[in-house]
């Protein structure tokens, strides 16, 4: 393969539909009205010289190279800024035009280096040659002595090569929306400037849009100098967040020179962020472990082993655990960082080779409530829109998400829509960047207290119902009317009014009312949300509340509307799709359904258990109870990322065989007996599915550094466990997925390679995929309204812990930081910081930049404080990117009632000044029978939260049967002191035993 040069049409395509006929240099061409002459010319195969024009940016008209002559018009207009009109006749060359272009290039070259350090990256010399420039007759002042700005770790700005075409400035404004760059001074002194300071000190977010836009060597990736010019391109998919950007991996031999966003990438359309664009160095970092490691005990040192020895050691111990503790005593976790094919293989290994359903995934701790909530209401566990849809929204309701940090490329799309006039409502305790940022200001910021999401969504819905803003035509046509009537009666209760809930949310009722009216009256209103919605004790309730709101206002089933979870990890959608949950087979089909099981049993040749397996926290509880002793952990650092780390560590420590498959030794591998080296995304062959259900190809750009693909290692372990799993290649795994899973029926690597990407459902009915879901009807048929009573979390601010801690992410770092901490991104963020409001800081004698001790009822840690008004009084905030700060030492076991997604977003804490920096992380003691405690808490929580109806015990019993393992149900019946249980739970237990729920 060679280096891929994407065509550049110079100006964006026209949005008009009527066509016009024009003649360019005698060639007839038909193009949409308002197409530029430049673009129309390229359609006719005529490439007009250009420097300042590029098709990702609005026409600018500054370089004056693209001038043309038009019959019947005076002058030489620039072809980029002049739209074609019907019957127009254009000449793109003539003596006069040739002279002009030579004259322009002569001027350019009179202030440009004679040779460019960036080689072919700089278009100038080639352009000079192309227009026939013979000599440069001018001499005089130049900018050739301006020093380089090398401050950014990833790219240089060399002003001597800059031609002031403004492409970088415009890319920063129009594409990224950060407005970090400008032109300083005017006339000959006009220079590109990162607003008067060095790039690193500026507002620049290093998205790389400017570097990509630059036609010269002025803005260049440093690797181009250190590694050299790339010679081949592989199109692949970024492995960071759930946006799933397509990239051109530009290679020199087997070395990656740079990642350049791919213009035809459906998710990103040529844009990128600092992580995907630049922070890929971890993939080849020297910390990578590339040989298997084993040890008898976690107190022993690691020793290198062959694949055979490692697999043999792991399998024999897993088998002996099963022999000793039973089939259900082992299990595994799939990774949202891995490909669909790798994930599918792991869940298959667990179900077929381990013989149980003890498979869960890291989505448990992020978007499991999305799966639950959207399934209940819409019938499927996924966002309803493609990303492009946001461009058609009139109002955007953004809840518990911080896209500019966590989903930057989607944030840029959103900012484009907002700059075009869409209105924004932000629901977040923190004043996130989108509340007010250049050329954007939210119409409303509902700065609620953490833990009161459901109160806000109910208050919004109450106003909509009370003020006659319900779209009854939509509801009547599309929704289940019985559920709607019950919901309407519920939501109109006075207790759900903004006035009643003001005390809990601390959001003025008038503001809630205004926001509700804005959302409900918009022609197209779209909801986007993040982990600020799901990671709560009522995460699932909130997701259902969001779905109710969208259905009640008719904002489902077309462009510009919808309910859209912003997914955290690159393949969290895919890992859920692939049957990673203990109660579901691929395609979100419940394990109890014999017909579904039969499909897989036939192909797999094994019987699948009909009862759900353990969720991650259940596994930890069972481990501490001595009943869960072996675990296969695919690419997830649960010892850092999961809440109440002391609990997690104790559970891991108590197990007899932990297999970690990862790129690096990490917190979790400290408890492991076998370490299987994983492959980076640059070595993987497979697919990732992003937040818009888009299945993207991940292609290997270099050979595996471990000698194996990850799914091969999984197959080897399965085989060693006594179950043969074999695939020719990754494509064959996808073929099996397609054969077993209706929503993937039409997907294959071949088709993906042809189409670029596909959004599921993709089958006979929708062979090209489904950008927007629920268009004519909901997946479940009728949309179902769910009652969403607000039940405050048990995690409350108290006298001892008066502040509420909420956690989140920052742009330059990613999740537990295993990748980004191994890149130059640490320049921007080298430690986790605790954000605290000035009044809370003053009260405690905390000063900006000082060390503070952060303690909750489960643990304490030490962080540096930053005083800021981004958090309200009473709320503190931090990130969890660094293991040293141990933010999850603080977070508790509390979780979503329906899915056990941890309540990361609310922890009662206290802050005290600390004289010393971080040292020992302090973990508190645990009670004796953690599993039993969890079972009581979970049961009571379900009873408090299931949609209240005439017989809530039925709903509770149904829920327990659907999601609990038989062993947990057994303990509920036999070991729990009934006085600890709510009467509804006791009633449900009777029903469950009588079997009247299934």
């Amino acid at each position: 393969m060679t280096l891929l040069i994407e065509p550049d049409y110079g100006t964006p395509s026209s949005v008009r539909t009527e066509m016009v006929n024009v003649e360019i240099d005698g060639h007839a061409v038909t193009v949409p009205a308002d197409t530029s002459i430049m673009r129309a010319s390229l359609e006719a195969g005529i490439d007009i010289p250009k420097l300042c024009a590029t098709d990702r940016l609005k026409a600018f008209g500054s370089c004056r190279l693209c001038v043309v002559e038009i019959d019947g018009r005076n002058g030489t207009p620039s072809s980029c800024t002049t739209p074609v009109t019907d019957g127009m006749k254009v000449s793109t060359t003539s003596d006069r035009i040739d002279r002009l272009r030579q004259g322009v290039m002569e001027l350019y070259m009179s202030d440009h280096p004679a040779t460019c350090a960036a080689g072919d990256e700089c278009e100038m010399h080639a352009m000079a040659e192309r227009v026939g420039l013979k000599a440069i007759r001018y001499s005089g002042r130049t900018h050739l002595d301006v020093p380089k700005d090398e401050s950014n770790p990833y790219f240089t700005f060399d002003s001597t090569e800059c031609i002031v075409c403004n492409r970088c400035v415009r890319a920063c404004d129009e594409v990224q929306g950060t407005f970090a760059l400008t032109i300083e001074n005017r006339g000959f002194e006009a220079r590109v400037s990162s607003s008067g300071t060095s790039f690193i000190e500026s507002e620049c977010v290093s998205c790389g849009a400017c570097v990509q836009a630059c036609p010269t060597g002025a803005l260049t990736e440093k690797t181009l100098y250190t590694i050299g010019t790339p010679t081949r391109t592989v199109i692949t998919t970024c492995a960071y967040c759930g946006v799933g950007c397509s990239f051109k991996a530009e290679m020199k031999g087997d070395e990656l020179v740079r990642m350049v966003p791919f213009k035809d990438g459906g998710a990103n359309e040529g844009h990128s962020c600092v992580k995907g664009r630049f922070a890929w160095g971890y993939a080849t970092h020297t910390d990578r472990v590339t040989t298997p490691l084993i040890r008898e005990s976690i107190t022993d040192p690691w020793r290198e082993a062959s694949w055979e020895e490692a697999i043999g050691f792991a399998s024999s111990r897993l088998k002996s655990i099963q022999a000793k503790y039973g089939t259900d005593s082992i299990g595994g976790i799939t990774s949202s960082r891995c490909t669909n094919e790798e994930v599918y293989a792991v869940q298959k290994m667990i179900r077929a080779a381990f013989g149980n359903n003890n498979v869960d995934t890291c989505a448990r701790v992020c978007h499991s409530p999305t799966g639950y909530g959207l399934s209940q209401t819409f019938g499927t566990s996924a966002g309803t829109q493609d990303f492009e849809s946001v461009a058609h929204a009139d109002v955007i309701l953004l809840i518990g998400a911080n896209p500019t940090a966590a989903h930057p490329v989607f944030a840029s799309r959103m900012k484009q829509a907002l700059r075009k006039g869409a209105q924004l409502i932000v629901v977040d305790p923190r004043r996130i960047e989108l509340v007010r940022t250049p050329h954007i200001e939210a119409a409303h910021h509902l700065g609620l207290m953490p833990g009161t999401n459901v109160a806000i969504i109910n208050a919004l819905a109450h106003v909509i119902a009370e003020e006659g803003l319900i779209d009854r035509d939509f509801v009547n046509a599309r929704c289940n009317l019985e559920s709607f009537a019950a919901w309407e009666a519920f939501i109109r209760l006075p207790e759900n009014s903004p006035e009643s809930l003001e005390g809990a949310t601390r959001v003025p009722a008038s503001q809630v009312r205004a926001a509700a009216r804005l959302y409900a009256s918009a022609p197209n209103a779209a909801i986007y949300y993040g982990l600020g919605v799901t990671e709560h004790s009522q995460g699932s309730t909130m997701v259902m509340g969001i779905a109710n709101l969208a259905m009640a206002t008719g904002n489902i089933g077309r462009l510009g509307v919808g309910v859209n979870p912003l997914r955290g990890q690159n393949n969290v959608q895919g890992s859920c799709d692939m049957g990673s949950f203990p109660h579901e087979l691929p395609g979100y089909r419940h394990i109890s359904n014999p017909k579904t099981r039969e499909i897989f049993e036939k192909i797999w040749g094994r019987t699948i258990k009909a009862e759900p397996g353990m969720r991650i926290p259940n596994m930890f509880d069972a481990a501490l109870a001595g009943k869960f002793m072996g675990m296969y952990i695919q690419g997830e650092d649960i010892a850092q990322s999961d809440p109440n780390i002391s609990h997690v560590h104790a559970a891991l420590r108590s197990m007899e065989m932990i297999i970690v498959q990862d790129l690096f030794l990490n917190e979790t591998s400290k408890f492991a007996h076998v370490f299987l080296p994983g492959t980076s995304f640059l070595e993987k062959d497979g697919t990732f599915t992003n937040a818009e259900r888009r299945i993207n190809r991940v292609r290997p750009v270099m050979p595996s550094k471990t000698g194996k693909t990850e799914w091969e290692a999984t197959c080897d372990l399965a085989a060693a466990m006594g179950y043969e799993m074999h695939y020719e290649n990754a494509a064959a795994i996808m073929d099996e997925i397609a054969a077993t899973t209706p929503t993937f029926a039409g997907v294959s690597f071949k088709k993906l390679d042809e189409m670029g990407s596909l959004q599921w459902p993709c089958n006979d009915k929708t062979p090209l995929g489904t950008p927007v879901m629920h268009v004519d009807q909901f997946v479940r048929g009728e949309g179902r309204f769910m009652q969403t009573p607000f039940v405050p979390t048990d995690e409350k601010a108290s006298r001892k812990f008066p502040l509420l801690l909420t956690t989140g992410r920052i742009l330059s770092q990613y999740n537990v930081g295993a990748q980004t901490r191994r890149t130059a991104n640490v320049v921007w963020h080298s430690e986790d910081i605790l954000d605290i409001h000035e009044s809370d800081a003053q009260l405690r004698g905390v000063t900006d930049g000082s060390w503070v001790k952060l303690s909750s009822r489960v643990g304490e840690t030490i962080l540096k404080a930053r005083i800021t008004s981004e958090v309200p009084a009473g709320v503190v905030y931090t990130t969890f990117h660094f293991p040293e700060s141990g933010a999850n030492v603080i977070t508790t076991d509390y979780s979503d009632w329906a899915t056990n997604c941890p309540e990361y977003k609310v922890t009662a804490v206290e802050i005290t000044p600390s004289l010393r920096g971080p040292g020992e992380i302090h973990e508190h003691e645990m009670s004796a029978d953690v599993q039993l405690e969890s079972i009581v808490r979970m049961a009571n929580q379900i009873a408090a939260n299931v949609p209240q109806g005439a017989a809530p015990e039925h709903a509770v019993a149904h829920h327990i049967v659907q999601f609990w393992t038989p062993a947990m149900r057994q303990r509920l019946h036999s070991d729990v002191d009934r006085s600890q249980l709510s009467p509804i739970v006791i009633a449900a237990m009777k029903l469950e035993l009588s079997g009247s729920t299934s």
Binding site: C63, T81, V104, A190
Partner: protein
């Protein structure tokens, strides 16, 4: 009580009008005389400033140019009653320099108290607006179109056509932008209108607003005009109080609001699209057209952009009718032009005449030749980007088309005179230097070309390879003319080429030339 007029116009103030006013007041007080001083605008005969006028029973009697030292003698000569004095000029209206003119736009300037609405009304003010308020939008646009009024900012584009485009463009909001970034050397008419008859400009803008459906107007005034800015601000407050501006104009349903935006201090901000950027709070950088500002202008909304003189002429077109206005002038250049005489000239100031007078008549009959008394060598018409014409072209008719045919342009109507001592190579270099200093820096021909142009002319002046550098200069002029994004770079070659054409000797025979 006697009314004495002492101009408050900044040109008059620059030659001592304030001291004159103070001195008159203090001496009148000392003499126990009841004098009321009115700070009027300037009548435009700048060589007579400070021009003091006394309202007597036989009309306004003029004295000038008056200095504070001469106030005592004026009182001694009983000037308050029209007494004779060496500075006496007779009846103001009969001063030949003024009386010969055909004042339409400048009819009230220098005559009324600029901030007196009653003065304004009693001299015909608000008649045009009252008529317009009774008319349909289309009919107002039609009348302006029929009058043949063309943009006075320099391009000469028919005002009615521009207005019609805005009228016909659908938009929830539309704007009227008045370009008062009067930056051409040798021009001052916009300033004098704003300082001498501000309500006229507001009236013109309001009529434009009613005509195209705009409810908001912005006057972009260059920061170097502090007096004009103050005057316009006061006039806006007074007009709002009076009801000729703001909500429910003169009791009708129409509304129009005007605000002032002070210029960014760059010449190129006078280019209409750069002005829009500047009003929006951005760098004053030229936009490419299309889209036309009439369709996507200020904040992306349909916008009328007219120069001060254009908008200030609208009330007269409305009150006097299209035909009366069109009756003046020649060919497609109808109505009057406010010429501004400056530079090395004996009698500088405002000369408003119908199009079609000759260049020679303006310079000789009104200007009376050079200030230095030396012979005339060149006149630059239309600002720093205008052509230099030699004395041999003085019979050219002063209208848009004739000047174009003569290789020049009317521009904003400023004339700057040079005597025989001028070095035209230096002037050509100045044109390039001006462009280099003021270029917004967007397009290549202007951004780099202007600096290269100045450097190349310097080489010619230094006698380096004169022929080669002249060829290079002419090539550059072609690239700048045909390749520049706006008139700034596009017209800079005009003075350079005209200097090369008409005064080649200044380039060819440099001292120390090394041909």
């Amino acid at each position: 009580m006697t009314i004495v007029y002492v101009p408050g116009d900044s040109a008059a103030r620059s030659v001592g009008a304030d001291q004159v006013a103070i001195e008159i007041a203090s001496q009148a007080n000392a003499r126990g005389l009841d004098v009321q001083i009115v700070r009027n605008g300037s009548r435009g005969a700048l060589f007579l400033e400070p021009l003091v006028e006394v309202l007597t029973s036989s009309g306004r009697i003029a004295f000038g140019p008056v200095s504070a030292d001469e106030i005592n003698s004026l009182f001694e000569a009983d000037f308050l009653n029209g007494g004779d004095h060496v500075l006496a000029l007779g009846k103001s209206d009969e001063i030949a320099w003024l009386a010969k003119q055909d004042r339409v736009t400048f009819a009230r300037v220098g005559i009324i108290d600029p901030l007196s609405i009653s003065d304004y009304e009693s001299h015909g003010g608000l008649t045009g607006l009252r008529k317009a308020l009774d008319m349909k939008s289309e009919d107002i646009v039609e009348q302006v179109t029929a009058s043949g009024l063309r943009g006075r900012g320099g391009a000469g584009f028919p005002a009615g056509v521009k207005w019609r485009t805005v009228l016909n463009t659908v938009g929830e909001k539309k704007y009227i932008c008045c370009n008062a970034d009067e930056g051409d050397s040798g021009t001052f008419a916009d300033r004098m209108v704003m300082e001498g008859d501000p309500f006229m400009l507001l009236e013109g803008m309001t009529i434009a607003g009613i005509a195209v459906g705009a409810t908001e107007g912005v006057i972009y005034i260059r920061s170097e005009y502090p007096d004009a800015i103050e005057m316009m601000k006061k006039a806006i407050v007074l007009a709002n109080e009076f009801g000729s501006l703001g909500e429910n104009i003169l009791g009708t349903e129409r509304s129009f609001h005007v605000r002032i935006r002070v210029g960014g201090g760059s010449y190129v901000c006078g280019e209409e699209t750069a002005m829009l950027e500047s009003i929006e709070g951005k760098r004053g950088v030229v936009r490419s057209k299309p889209p036309l500002p009439a369709i996507e202008g200020l904040f992306g909304k349909p916008t009328v952009i007219n120069n001060v003189l254009t908008l200030a002429t609208v009330p007269a077109v409305m009150s006097g009718g299209a035909d009366a206005y069109k009756a003046r002038g020649v060919g497609r250049s109808v109505g009057t032009q406010v010429f501004q005489l400056g530079g090395n000239i004996a009698r500088g100031g405002i000369v408003e005449l119908a199009f079609g007078t000759t260049l020679g008549s303006l310079i000789n009959d009104y200007g009376s030749g050079t200030f230095s008394g030396k012979s005339i060598r060149a006149v630059q018409i239309g600002g720093p980007l205008g052509a230099y014409l030699p004395a041999s072209s003085f019979d050219v008719s002063m209208d848009y088309e004739s000047l174009l045919a003569a290789g020049g342009m009317l521009g904003h109507g400023g004339l700057v005179l040079f005597d025989e001592s001028v070095d035209m190579a230096i002037q050509a270099k100045f044109a390039m230097e001006f462009c280099a200093l003021e270029s917004c820096g967007k397009c290549t021909p202007c951004r780099i070309g202007s600096t290269r142009g100045a450097e190349t002319i310097t080489k010619i002046i230094d006698g380096q390879d004169i022929d080669g550098n002249k060829r290079l200069l002419l090539d550059l002029c072609e690239v700048m003319t045909d390749g520049s994004l706006c008139a700034m770079g596009g017209l800079t070659p005009l003075p350079v080429r005209s200097a090369l054409l008409h005064f080649p000797e200044d380039f060819d025979s440099r001292i120390g030339a090394t041909k």
